[in-house]
Symmetry: C2
Subunit: 332 residues, 2 copies
């Protein structure tokens, strides 16, 4: 190109083609990817779109932006019990993109491809009308009929979550307010932890097996535990009861819970957790917990499925909490 | 929402869910779509991303923007010989979006879903950091092993194109320059034709069958006939020879060719045609042409595949033309 930056085909050759190891990608030299489905599997398809200054900061490390764009999709696959197979990526580059930025972005993808066993299958690169946008469609595989939906929770089931809740939202607040950690007395380690959880989701791909093996319903937590519990409750036509005192919290969130209750609830409901919420029938609960721990993704019992019609009750060691003040995070 | 516009879930319920008739979409109420592949088929996956003021004008009719975003993907499927099955859509809405705009956009999708037999499977709606962007991933099916690639053209094959070439690029120029039609003496009908071809690509989905039945290589023409011929020539390791006097032209382009040779070449190479370029072995050429006509997408012989290494020769009734001046359209 006149400005010395590589054109689209040169970008593909230098940076994207090395990410496309699946023969179905046709080396990114064709109009489309061609996949031969393995016999006995369903394909699980998910698409998340991320925009600068909405889902990440434009000056975040390019490697981290790439990882986040891929991981939020892998999180959706894990929640359905699907093993990642590949992804297509649409990349809208702002006017001032540089080759160095693209190189680092692709390094981030390469590292995650290796970590999660997934390959680039195809995509499109365009000039953005303004800021950077990344649109990834991820494709996973699950044994035929075994995809786990949001709609299968039944009264009597036990509710589990993976990891800890609220860290990413706290990390976002710490990012936006340089005084956040000082005001709330967080240690350096605690601050580092929450900032990192905002920057880099950790999709619980290890839970795909335990989820298909044992869960009656599952979803990933992106809008906040309470908001997403309501989604599951509505899809399943049940009520969910969550005991806040059982929800696993990092050191940072425990400190917030003690010292700044309002701030805590804001983070707790803030979303971007990318943990798994799953319901499991009582007789399989112990086996689920054991399988999850064995997969390196321990899960914690946080509540129960009850009769109901899409309602969520939150209580803290027996005391009812008012949910009207804390909505989930809106990505839109 | 505070501003009276529907939130994401309300948008899904009112506008997107009615487009999601395939049971695999799970009514758009889950994290992902689940598809059970039909036995004996490969899946063809393609992703094109369109941005306001890059691929369309922000003030184009919302129905037309929707149609274009879907159709450019259907064109890729047709070029591989795949029948459309469904699509996922990422929609990044600008700050000033209105519910009426979304309603019209979805009307455009609904009309094309009916026309092309395809359904919405899933997606994501986000706030754009600036202008409207639409990212569609389309999924098609083709009998196992039958997807047609760019790389199969062999010396001796005959080259065909569908439709006419150069109209969309001329339509773009007419859009950008209100004097274009007057200066080039186009009739009102001719002007209407080129404007419409820019606004609304016509994916040659009817050619999917003839392409898998007879073509050795195929692709859709989005970067311009010459630029895309070069892509096919490189992928196939051959040379292509195109006879401009045989390339089908609309009345508008014929007039440009006669009266304004430079402008003609600019449109001819301008891209956005979304016609099919296919190579067919000599002994199947007549059958291909017959099958295409029967499918309602007549094709025209425009040249030959020769020995070569990625080269394209353009001549006009025997006279060699210099290609160094006319590159394809860059979407990036």
């Amino acid at each position: 190109m006149d400005d010395g930056r590589p054109g689209e085909f040169e970008l593909i050759r230098r940076y994207f083609a090395p990410l496309a190891k699946d023969p179905g990608s046709l080396g990114l030299t064709d109009d489309a990817a061609v996949l031969t489905p393995r016999p006995g599997v369903d394909l699980v398809l998910t698409k998340d779109m991320l925009a600068a200054d909405v889902h990440f900061f434009a000056d975040d490390a390019p490697e981290a932006i790439a990882a986040k764009a891929l991981r939020v999709n892998l999180s959706d696959l894990a929640a359905k019990g699907a093993r990642p197979r590949g992804y297509l990526m649409g990349l809208a580059l702002p006017a001032d993109w540089t080759e160095g930025w693209v190189a680092r972005f692709c390094n981030g993808l390469a590292a995650d491809q290796q970590a999660y066993g997934v390959h680039l299958l195809g995509g499109d690169t365009i000039r953005s009308s303004n800021g950077l946008q990344v649109s990834i469609t991820a494709i996973g595989e699950v044994d035929t009929g075994k995809a786990v939906r949001r709609s299968g929770a039944r009264p009597g089931d036990i509710l589990f979550v993976s990891g800890t809740i609220g860290d990413a939202a706290a990390g976002l607040h710490a990012r936006l307010d340089p005084d956040f950690s000082r005001v709330h007395d967080l240690t350096q380690d605690e601050e580092r932890h929450i900032l990192n959880r905002y920057l880099l989701p950790r999709p619980r791909t290890g839970l795909a097996g335990p989820v298909t093996g044992f869960a009656t319903a599952a979803m990933d937590i992106s809008d906040g535990l309470i908001a997403d519990s309501a989604h599951m409750a509505r899809a399943s036509g049940v009520g969910l009861s969550i005991d806040l005192s059982k929800v696993p919290l990092s050191g940072a969130l425990q400190r917030l819970k003690m010292n700044a209750r309002h701030e805590f609830m804001r983070c707790f409901n803030g979303g971007d957790d990318y943990e798994i919420l799953a319901s499991v029938s009582k007789d399989k609960a112990a086996a689920f917990q054991k399988a999850a721990a064995a997969a390196g993704c321990p899960v914690t019992e946080v509540g129960l499925v009850e009769e109901g019609s899409g309602t969520v009750r939150l209580h803290d060691a027996g005391q009812s909490l008012d949910l009207s003040t804390g909505g989930g995070f809106r990505h839109f």
